[in-house]
């Protein structure tokens, strides 16, 4: 009997690891702190074992990825091209996070918008207007009016610019 391994089972396994850690970690706590995480962890592990078996066994019904209640994954997204584009967007996200850490929000946000415009070859008007607009709007509303204390950025601090 050949077991069917789907990439989605990785998530199930990840959850199993997580809940196992929770159970082990909470087993040493006094009863009042322990009860909830321990109980929930054990129940979850049992259900996860059942879920994993269902995903791996070929004889079981094909696992549906339609939840019936949440916004479902489309065929378009599971295609190769869909996954490639998703990967690129993750790169944008984490790149933005890195940029935020390096040069702070008020510089990183308009820069990110600008870079995105350039990547997708938008018109000149938009390429100038949107980043500028983003920069001015965020600086005025969130910086000047609301004084949100965004960290100024590691690089800029090191360079003594802030």
């Amino acid at each position: 009997m050949s077991l069917r391994f789907q990439p989605r089972s990785l998530l199930t396994v990840a959850f199993i690891l997580l809940f196992s850690y929770i159970v082990v970690e909470s087993s040493e706590m006094p009863i009042q702190a322990k009860m909830y995480p321990y109980t929930i962890g054990i129940i979850a592990l049992l259900l996860l074992a059942y879920q994993l078996v269902r995903e791996i066994l070929p004889a079981a019904k094909t696992e549906t990825d339609k939840t019936g209640v949440d916004i479902d994954f489309t065929a378009e997204e599971s295609s190769k091209q869909g996954k490639r584009r998703a990967l690129e967007l993750f790169a944008w996200m984490y790149g933005f996070a890195l940029l935020l850490w390096l040069i702070g929000f008020y510089t990183a946000a308009p820069l990110m918008v600008l870079a995105y415009m350039l990547r997708h070859k938008e018109t000149l008007v938009v390429t100038i207007a949107l980043p500028l607009g983003t920069g001015i709007a965020t600086w005025y509303i969130f910086g000047h009016l609301l004084h949100l204390p965004f960290p100024p950025g590691v690089l800029l601090e090191w360079a003594g610019l802030v």
Binding site: P30, Y106, T107, P110, L111, L114, I128, P131, L132, G135, I136, W139, G143, H144, H147, L148, P149, P151, P152, G160, L161, V162
Partner: protein, 411 residues
């Protein structure tokens, strides 16, 4: 904080920043320093609530006493009970006198007890002064017979106190009473003074401990009975101060709990501020707290204002930082119960079985045996404590040397 507008001309960006930097170094003396500058007032909690009120109050009125009339803005930096704001002031804040903060009054205590996450050193922060002193109050509901401290002490019935949880003021005060031998039980998980008052009204609990400011209304509305207070006295409170009523250890602990209350709303700035600028800030702080407009606003909002000098604040902090290990461990044992398990033969018995001695880590220590709370077993059978004899090998579970044993299982 330097602000950047458009991103496109990175060159003009850098040029603008360079110009700012040059302008900064041109400010030479304290008098001219603050002209055109913005002072950040960091508040240790979220908008609303006491600390935020005082932070904003000072931000509105302090600037006019600083030559150059700088702009003052308020920034909320909540987290970890005020530790986040304190860490910020100790490390990332600008050290030129443009950043001041209202920090938690338990700052010194948290540092002394080595709270998780503390990364500041109070010795390195510069105190500006305190805007008010706080009073903590223990109150009981009106639908029960106890009216005075003495009745509370003598109560045969267990008095239930509602509290948030270990580490909070509402927990520490009943915990202190319990340690001093009062018949008190603490019910945790009731968050917020309001919820605790409701619990009293509902009859679930009998009393609670809370700051006077937040309790004053409830005393009027719900008829709560104040029993005693800690911290600054209040003319409207005809009840005794806590320390007059406790045992010696209790007094020490009460003093520790009460010390932060003297500087109830403490303001600090960073280290490294030139002496003349620091004096300027301290003077402005004092002047602001005597400002007529500020006092009017505070009165309208029913918040008390009392200026405490920076020197007094620093002395209070020094006292707390210098508290003895014994008091600190007594204070901490109210927070987390960590039990030790140890097996050893019984070496001495005193007070008719109420004190059992054995060797632990090379020293002879004693544990207290309570008739009600300590589980005593011999060979698996439940017995009274006088059944323990010298020479029996027993397994003890206890909080620490001199503490009460949870169980003693002997063979």
């Amino acid at each position: 904080m330097k602000k950047f507008t458009g991103p496109l001309a990175l060159g003009s960006l850098l040029a603008g920043v360079a110009a700012w930097g040059i302008a900064d170094t041109q400010a030479v003396n304290a008098q001219g320093f603050y002209k055109g500058k913005t002072i950040k007032m960091v508040v240790r909690s979220a908008p609303g609530g006491g600390y935020d009120f005082y932070g904003r109050l000072l931000a509105r009125h302090m600037a006019k006493y600083i030559p150059g009339n700088p702009n003052m803005i308020v920034i909320n930096m909540p987290g970890a009970g005020g530790i986040v704001a304190a860490n910020y002031m100790a490390s990332r804040a600008k050290k030129n006198g443009t950043e001041i903060a209202i920090l938690t009054r338990e700052l010194a205590l948290a540092q002394r007890t080595k709270e998780i996450g503390v990364r500041y050193d109070l010795e390195k922060l510069s105190a500006l002064g305190s805007a008010a002193s706080s009073t903590f109050l223990v109150v009981l509901g009106k639908n029960q017979p106890i009216r005075t401290y003495q009745q509370l002490k003598d109560s045969k019935k267990t008095v239930l106190f509602g509290a948030t949880g270990p580490g909070s003021g509402s927990y520490q005060y009943p915990s202190l009473l319990k340690k001093d031998g009062f018949n008190v039980k603490i019910i945790t998980g009731i968050i917020g003074g309001s919820a605790r008052f409701l619990a009293i009204e509902r009859g679930d609990t009998h009393g609670t401990a809370n700051s006077y400011e937040s309790t004053r209304k409830a005393i009027k509305e719900l008829g709560l009975i104040p029993i005693f207070y800690n911290g600054a006295p209040h003319k409207a409170l005809p009840v005794p101060h806590m320390s007059t009523l406790l045992s010696k250890e209790g007094k020490q602990l009460a003093a520790l709990l009460g010390a932060p209350l003297a500087a109830g709303r403490p303001f600090y700035t960073t280290s490294g501020v030139p002496a003349d600028r620091l004096k300027l800030l301290r003077d402005a702080f004092k002047a602001a707290l005597h400002d007529k407009e500020l006092l009017k606003e505070a009165k309208r909002a029913k918040r008390n204002v009392a200026w405490t000098a920076a020197g007094v604040m620093e002395k209070v902090n020094q006292e707390i930082l210098g508290a003895s290990d014994a008091v600190i461990s007594a204070y901490k044992s109210g927070a987390k119960k960590v039990y030790v398990k140890h097996t050893a033969p019984v070496t001495k018995i005193k007070k008719k079985g109420k004190r059992i001695y054995f060797t632990y880590k090379g020293k002879e220590i004693k544990v207290k045996v309570s008739g009600k709370r300590t589980k005593v077993q011999v060979n698996g059978k439940k017995v009274k404590r006088k059944a323990i004899k010298i020479g029996m090998t027993c397994k003890f579970k206890f909080a620490g040397p001199g503490g009460e044993a949870k169980y003693i299982k002997c063979k």
